[in-house]
């Protein structure tokens, strides 16, 4: 019997550390939510597990660092994947020196652009969902992601990060500009359209 250690209990899933064959792996198990009816719960768990797996596999093909997927169980909502040993950007962001912080932000932007070039929308780009390991930023938790080629959706994707930086790293809210700088450099289509969209979304937000 393999041992399981719960690393993190998030809002929708449990992340445990365990072994799979000879590998040290992470299992993401979507937990049943008793507050919602079974129709909705089953639908969300299975579509999210399936969608997340597909997106992670595709992101990897596009050269974005993501965990390797070893196994998927749609019915129980379990994804077994590579364990990335590193630090969450959320935990280190406020303690970096200026140069490091700028560098990280640009890298984040480049990686998001790589995803968007292939219409991969992460759906929950926050600093909790990025891990720094071996000088590379690994993106995890594609649970709210989708495939979508609309400028609007890409704008919303970036807007989530902007709000996350605003709320969690409010002292460094200007650093979102460096994310955009990296994004602009890497994006194949005209990045200004997406940036304009972010501004529209900010204006559209209620009472802003």
């Amino acid at each position: 019997m393999t041992e399981k250690t719960i690393l993190y209990r998030g809002a929708e899933a449990e992340i445990c550390l365990t072994n799979y064959m000879k590998y040290k792996v992470v299992q993401k198990r979507r937990v049943q939510k008793t507050y919602r009816i079974k129709d909705i719960d089953d639908r969300l768990i299975s579509t999210r597990t399936k969608g997340e797996t597909k997106l992670i596999a595709e992101a990897r093909k596009q050269g974005v660092s993501v965990p390797i997927i070893y196994d998927v169980d749609l019915k129980s909502g379990i994804i077994t994947m590579e364990y990335i040993e590193g630090k969450r950007i959320k935990d280190i962001f406020n303690y970096l020196n200026k140069k490091e912080r700028i560098d990280i932000c640009k890298k984040i932007g480049v990686n998001i652009a790589k995803l968007h070039n292939n219409d991969i929308i992460h759906g929950d780009i926050t600093t909790s969902n990025m891990i720094l390991a071996n000088d590379r930023i690994h993106f995890i938790d594609f649970g709210l992601g989708e495939k979508n080629n609309e400028i609007e959706t890409k704008g919303v994707d970036l807007h989530v990060l902007m709000e996350a930086i605003d709320s969690t790293h409010s002292k460094y809210s200007d650093y979102f500009d460096y994310v955009i700088e990296g994004y602009k450099k890497e994006l194949k289509e005209n990045a200004n359209l997406v940036i304009q969209k972010i501004e529209d979304i900010v204006k559209r937000g209620r009472y802003r």
Binding site: T34, Y35, I40, L144, V156, S167, R206
Partner: protein, 331 residues
Amino acid sequence: MICLGIEGTAHSIGVGIIENNRRKCIVLSNIIKIYRPKQGGIHPREAANHHAIHLADLIKESINVAGVDFNKIDLISFSQGPGLGPCLRTAATAARALSLSLKKPIMGVNHCVAHLEIGRGTLDECKDPVLLYTSGANTQVIAFAEGKYRVFGETLDIGIGNCLDKFGRKIGLEFPCGPKIEKLAEKGNQYLELPYSIKGMDIAFSGLLTASEQYYQKNKRLEDICFSIQETTFAALTEITERAMAHTDKDEVLLGGGVASNKRLRDMVHKMAEDRGARFFVPSKDLCIDNGAMIAWLGILMYNNGIRLKVEESYIDQRFRTDMVDVSWRD
């Protein structure tokens, strides 16, 4: 210290009186009157007219119920925003008039922050909650972080109350439609699939509204549509609230806003809180909906913290964001 608060951001006009005794929040009176349009949605000018007509009587009634004299009032507080311009101006004008005639200081407060503070003020155990604020216009998940009440998630299109009202109007219900939809939903049992739209901690309802209207046009059972709307939107609201709690590491959840009266929403959020070992709070109904008492209480907190406002600078702000307020009264 005794404060009279005037709320007037949208449908409701309210006058509440709060006494602050050894940092305790005691509600002396809380009188509310709601503008109900004969048809269609809210008309800002009509709502403001309604407020102007009733405000003087509400102030008198509030004073009578509280059993205090005008000369015992130490502070006048009003909803400075966000909200509909004409409504805000009506409440602000009354507040300025009272402040000048009673020669008492005036305080303008943020309506959304007031919803959160009244929970902290009246519920003993509620110290540092994540607030799920659900009303007609507003749908926000708010929590205290780094000196401000920050919006961790909110609607990207319409408020949940607005979504319910729009659907309600389509099927011929009168404002407010939420309670009527709740009644219908109790008799529903067949779940009809609806879009479940959350982005990070943000949420959207317009797609669901369209899909629900289509079910109505296809003559699906109304009770089932209402049941499905409630189950889907409330599950999504509960989910973003839970996400915000996980993100901010908080173990208290507070409900506020008119939709917080809905029993199904309460049950869902309560269940979620239980499952994560968190505590669940909801203020009494008259403190959940838009009301003057919460405006009075926030006025006291700000005034006691040394914040001052001159009458000549007491402008309203229709787009007063939750995170524009420096929350200096909290550590």
